[in-house]
C-alpha cells in the first residue's frame, strides 16, 4: 500500500501502518538492501557471464570478468537459424493468451465454487484439486496423442487452449480462496437489488478481486514464459519455438555449447517478464484504492 492511497481514503499520511521512527526505518531499509543483494546476485552473475570470455565462465568464481565483450548478445540474437526476436514474439503470444485464458476461465470456475450453491459442488472441487496432483510426465504421452489426433501438434493450440478451459487448477483454487474473503453482505445486498450471478460476478467479484486477478496474471505470464517442457514436446518447427526452447538450443552438453549466447539471451529474456511484473504489480496495489472500501 502507499501513503497516498491511505490519505485519499481515510486518514492523514501518518496513519497506523506508516508510522515509524527514523532509526527503525533505516534498519528496515538496511535489512531490505542486504536481502536485495542476495536476490540480485544471480542476475549480476548472469550478466557478467554473458560478457566474459567463454573459457572463464566455469572455472572462475569471481563476479568480475577479465575482459568485457558484448559479441555474445549479437551472436545469441542472430546466431540460431531463427532470430531471437521470433522466439520472443512466440513467447509473448503464448504468454498473453495464457494470461487471458487463465484469468477469464479460472475466475468463472472459482466464482462458482466460492459463491454458488449447486449439486456436486464439493465433488467437483475435490476433482479439481485432484487434477493438481498428477505428475505431468505420465499424462504427457496420452495428451500428446490426443493433441496429435486433433492436429494441434506444432501449433500453439496445445499450450493455449487448455488455459481457456481453466486447466490450471492452481488459479481456480487461488481465486476461490480470495473470493471467499469478500464479505458476503455485498452480494446479498446486490441480490436484493435483483442482480443475478453474472452481474454479481462482473460488478462485485471481479472489481473487488483485482489484487488476486493481477496475481494470477503475473504468475500466468511468468510461468508460461519460463515453461519449456510443454513447448519442447509440442513445438517441432524452430519458427514456433518459445524463448525457453530457443535458450535450450544453445546448449548441447555432449558437444559444443554457446554459453555466452545462452547467458546473454537469458539476461535479455528477463526484460519482458520483469516489466510485465512491474506493470501488473501496480494493479495489485491500485486496484484496491478504486474500491474505496479496502485500504
Amino acid at each position: 500500500m502507499t501513503d497516498a492511497t491511505m490519505s485519499s481514503v481515510t486518514a492523514p499520511p501518518s496513519a497506523p501502518p506508516g508510522r515509524r521512527s527514523p532509526v527503525g526505518s533505516v534498519l528496515i531499509h538496511a535489512g531490505l538492501i542486504a536481502a536485495s543483494i542476495a536476490m540480485v546476485y544471480p542476475l549480476l552473475w548472469m550478466i557478467s557471464a554473458s560478457v566474459r570470455p567463454e573459457d572463464e565462465i566455469f572455472a572462475s568464481t569471481s563476479l568480475w570478468p577479465s575482459s568485457v565483450d558484448f559479441a555474445s548478445y549479437v551472436r545469441g540474437w542472430f546466431g540460431l537459424d531463427v532470430s531471437f526476436g521470433r522466439f520472443t514474439w512466440n513467447s509473448l503470444v503464448v504468454s498473453v493468451l495464457t494470461v487471458i485464458g487463465n484469468v477469464v476461465a479460472c475466475s468463472l470456475a472459482a466464482y462458482a465454487f466460492a459463491r454458488l450453491r449447486f449439486a456436486g459442488r464439493n465433488f467437483w472441487f475435490a476433482i479439481m484439486l485432484g487434477t493438481m496432483m498428477i505428475p505431468y510426465h505420465v499424462t504427457l504421452i496420452p495428451q500428446y496423442v490426443l493433441f496429435l489426433n486433433l492436429g494441434w501438434v506444432n501449433t500453439f493450440l496445445p499450450l493455449v487452449v487448455p488455459k481457456f478451459l481453466a486447466s490450471d487448477a492452481f488459479f481456480i483454487f487461488l481465486m476461490v480462496q480470495f473470493f471467499r474473503g469478500i464479505p458476503r453482505e455485498l452480494d446479498e445486498a446486490a441480490m436484493m437489488d435483483g442482480c443475478g450471478p453474472w452481474r454479481i460476478y462482473w460488478k462485485i467479484m471481479l472489481p473487488l478481486s483485482l489484487p488476486v486477478l493481477a496475481t494470477a496474471a503475473i504468475f500466468s505470464f511468468i510461468w508460461t514464459w519460463d515453461d519449456f517442457f510443454g513447448p519442447l514436446i509440442y513445438l517441432n518447427d524452430m519458427n514456433t519455438y518459445t524463448i525457453q526452447l530457443g535458450l535450450r538450443t544453445f546448449v548441447d552438453s555432449s558437444s559444443t555449447s554457446d554459453w555466452g549466447g545462452l547467458f546473454a539471451m537469458s539476461t535479455l529474456s528477463l526484460v519482458p517478464v520483469f516489466f510485465f511484473f512491474l506493470f501488473f504489480q501496480r494493479l495489485l496495489i491500485e486496484g484496491i484504492a478504486t474500491t474505496g472500501m479496502k485500504r
Binding site: P17, I28, M39, G181, G196, F219
Partner: protein
C-alpha cells in the same frame, strides 16, 4: 449469451416470483444451473482434455508399457514391485518427504515475513518487491544450475564467506549429506510467488478494522495476532496446500542441479525425477504411471487432511 443473462438474472432476483407451473426442471435449473454455467469451461476442459489422459495413465499403471510397443496388461505387478522390491522408490520417497518437510515451512515463513515487511508502506516498495521477485523470474533455467554450483561448490561464494569466520565448508552441492539443503535453499530463495499471494491477501484486509483496533489502543502485535493473522488464514491455507503439493511434485530443481541423475548417491532423487528416469530413461512408462498414482494418493491424503483440519483454523467470511 442474452438467454444466459436472462436466466442468470432470474436466479438472483425473480426466482421466488416465478409461477410454480414452470415445473420441476425450471426450478432445478434455477437452483443448480448457474453454478454449472460458470463451471462450463472447466468441465469441458476436464472431460475433453484432462480426464482421458488421466484414465489412460491409470490404465497404463497396470501394464508394462515401453513407450513404443503396445501396452501389456500385468495386473498389479507394478504396484507389488513398488511396495516390495524397489529400493530406489524408498530412497526417492525419503528424499521427497525430507524436501517437503524442510522447504515448505521455511519458504512460507520467509515469504510471510517479507510480505508483512513490504506491506508496511516502506518507501521504494515497488523497487524491493520487484527485486525480491527476481529469483522467481529465473525459474528453472539452465543458468540456475551453473550459478548454484558457483555458490555452493567447495570454493564457491558461500564457502568464501564462511572462510571469513574461519569455517571451512564442504562442497555443499555435491556432498550426499548436504546436497538436499542446497535445493531447499533454492526453493526458499524463490519465495516470490507465495510472497505475492500473501501481499494480495494483506491487501484485502479492510483498513477500518485496524483503525478501530488502534482507536481501542491495541498494540501492533495484538493487531497482527487478532486481525491480520485470522483474516489471512485462507491465504495461508492456500499457500500451505499448494506449496506442499508443489514440493511433492518438484522436478525441475533436482533435474537441473543434479543433471538428471538425482546424485550424488540418490541424495537429490526427487520422486518425480525417479519417475521421469523410469519413464523416459528406462522405457518403463507403465511402472512410472504406477509410481505417479502412488504419489497422487499420498498428496491426496495430505490435502484431504489439510482440508479436514482447516475448519479449525481457517476463517472465511462466508
Amino acid at each position: 449469451m442474452a438467454a444466459v443473462q436472462d436466466s442468470a438474472v432470474a436466479i438472483g432476483g425473480g426466482a421466488q416470483a416465478r409461477p410454480a407451473a414452470q415445473g420441476r426442471w425450471a426450478s432445478l435449473w434455477t437452483k443448480h444451473g448457474a453454478g454449472y454455467m460458470f463451471l462450463l469451461p472447466w468441465l469441458i476442459g476436464f472431460f475433453g482434455l484432462t480426464l482421458g489422459p488421466a484414465i489412460a495413465s491409470l490404465y497404463l499403471s497396470f501394464t508394462s508399457f515401453d513407450l513404443i510397443r503396445t501396452p501389456e496388461w500385468v495386473g498389479t505387478a507394478n504396484y507389488v514391485r513398488i511396495a516390495t522390491a524397489d529400493p530406489k522408490f524408498a530412497a526417492a520417497m525419503q528424499v521427497t518427504f525430507l524436501y517437503v518437510v524442510l522447504s515448505v515451512p521455511f519458504k512460507l515463513t520467509f515469504a510471510l515475513l517479507v510480505a508483512l515487511l513490504l506491506d508496511r508502506g516502506v518507501k521504494g516498495l515497488t523497487f524491493y518487491r520487484a527485486l525480491f521477485y527476481l529469483p522467481s523470474l529465473l525459474g528453472g533455467s539452465v543458468a540456475i544450475a551453473v550459478l548454484w554450483r558457483q555458490l555452493f561448490a567447495g570454493d564457491g561464494l558461500i564457502n568464501s564467506l564462511l572462510a571469513q569466520f574461519g569455517i571451512e565448508g564442504p562442497s555443499w552441492i555435491s556432498h550426499p549429506n548436504y546436497s538436499i539443503w542446497t535445493l531447499v535453499v533454492l526453493s526458499v530463495w524463490q519465495f516470490g510467488s507465495p510472497m505475492i499471494i500473501f501481499l494480495a491477501g494483506l491487501r484485502q484486509i479492510p483498513t477500518d478494522m485496524y483503525e478501530a483496533a488502534s482507536l481501542d489502543g491495541a498494540s501492533k502485535f495484538r493487531q497482527f495476532y487478532k486481525i491480520t493473522l485470522p483474516l489471512l488464514t485462507p491465504v495461508i491455507f492456500f499457500n500451505a496446500v499448494v506449496q506442499t503439493i508443489d514440493a511433492f511434485k518438484a522436478f525441475t530443481p533436482a533435474f537441473i542441479i543434479s543433471g538428471g541423475t538425482g546424485g550424488p548417491i540418490n541424495s537429490t532423487l526427487f520422486y518425480t525425477l525417479y519417475l521421469y528416469q523410469e519413464a523416459f530413461g528406462n522405457f518403463r512408462m507403465g511402472y512410472a504411471s504406477a509410481l505417479a498414482w502412488i504419489l497422487v494418493l499420498i498428496i491426496g491424503l495430505f490435502t484431504a487432511f489439510s482440508f479436514l483440519t482447516s475448519r479449525y483454523w481457517v476463517h472465511y467470511d462466508d
